[in-house]
Symmetry: C2
Subunit: 271 residues, 2 copies
């Protein structure tokens, strides 16, 4: 189905705009992906938008035409509109010329198959959507299975998180859980002779991160940007590791800490 | 000197607000640092604000009182104002209760003493101020000497970069240069038997980053968030290294790539 929208007050425009707001996005169960590059990343990973919104007057592009066919073939809707209305939808003055609407994924812990990868990333109370998206991107790079969001993290379906993930939102499994549900799930698993090793970067009772005894499946956990991990959460970890801190600061950016640790774990588990 | 400002149209308020804009900040040669934590980081590193602006009615705090004395002692100005006016200055609805005004640093390449550290970070066309601040923070953590900004990078004195640096803006040497000035400077140095090794994360003609032959002073360079490094810049590097990319993506976030590489270099040069 294909239609053209020329009015700012069109209900579809209002609906699409509403997806920029976390609460309304959650209620709708859908999110926006902006730009051809991310939409192509999604398509290659097997995700086709429910709705595709394109600015009229854009230059023809074979990838957009291909997307259009896929959306139509899957029973989705293709909408053309003015650049101004597309800007209104995305809230950006120079909007990307194409936007896709996707259904949110199943982010239940039960849908995570931990035996599918040697590395999993875990973030607790991570508030910055850019950090969250960056962790997804790092997870893709190290061959992690996915990212598990504990407690009150940023929304992984926000435009900023989607953009920072650089398409990894579509390659990484994403789960959301409270700590009190995560720990029993972690300890209840029985794969490859173990339920999973929980590792945190920590200053308390920690061993050097280089050459530590990492075991697959290895769950690498980072904490909140300001507070770090709660002490009780660190105590639950099977391994606490520390990275050299040569300067005045006593911590790294959360996404950076996760990445430095993940590359170290990759080196050990891949050997 | 101490004064109270109660009017929104006060010229000092207008001046302080103007420091949020890159162009006006550059013209003034001053920048804002928001919040007691960052101001305390600055103070410990030997930097005292020219002007200290505090919201009236804040709770007394020994650190703020100490700062106030230092500012006054250095001939600076202490201003009290309303929380509303402070919010107007910072552009944030719930402003930190204290803001400091600092003179921008000398960021000329000539002021960099490369023999002072084994590691230096270099960013080329890095556009995201959060990434820039994060690289400063990482530099502090690995004991780098500082960050050299090549070509058109984000402004290191923007509020976002200052905040992301978590105080490392005051511990790391900061320099800005065009590529055509940086290369002769790099090659012209004569310290510890060498001018410095330029290393880039690259996909072209690269060796694995683990265990590569890093040499001090090692200059670790990352490129623009979208484009990476220009080919000619990579060709100038003494060493091109590559990190495993197990997923669909072919690159990491720029600040993450710099950090993973910097920790590897630290391990080799510190051994």
């Amino acid at each position: 189905m294909r239609k053209h929208i020329s009015g700012f007050s069109n209900p579809t425009v209002k609906y699409l705009r509403s997806l920029r707001e976390k609460k309304l996005r959650k209620r709708a169960g859908q999110f926006l992906v902006e730009g051809l590059r991310l939409l192509e990343d999604a398509r290659v990973s097997g995700y086709v938008p429910r709705t595709l919104v394109m600015a009229e007057g854009r230059d023809p592009h074979p990838l957009i035409e291909g997307l259009e066919r896929e959306v139509a073939g899957a029973g989705g809707e293709v909408i053309t509109t003015t650049p101004d209305i597309l800007s209104k939808i995305t809230g950006k003055s120079n909007a990307q010329s194409v936007v896709g609407v996707f259904d949110e994924f199943d982010t239940s812990l039960g849908a995570v198959d931990r035996s599918g990868a040697k590395i999993w990333l875990v973030a607790q109370d991570l508030r910055d959507p850019g950090n969250l998206g960056t962790m997804l991107r790092t997870g893709d790079a190290v061959g992690a299975g996915g990212l598990i969001l504990i407690d009150d993290c940023a929304d992984p379906f926000s435009a900023e998180a989607v953009r920072a993930s650089m398409g990894a939102l579509f390659t990484q499994k994403l789960a959301r859980a409270r700590w009190d549900d995560f720990v029993p799930w972690l300890r209840g698993g029985e794969t490859r002779g173990g339920s999973g090793q929980l590792v945190a970067a920590s200053l308390r009772d920690a061993v050097p991160y280089r050459g530590a005894d990492y075991q697959a499946p290895c769950f690498i956990m980072v904490g909140n940007e300001s507070q770090g991990l709660p002490e009780a959460y660190e105590a639950e970890c099977d391994l606490r590791v520390t990275m050299p801190m040569k300067g005045r600061a006593d911590s790294l950016n959360a996404a950076v800490a996760g990445a430095v640790l993940a590359y170290e774990v990759l080196d050990k588990l891949d050997a």
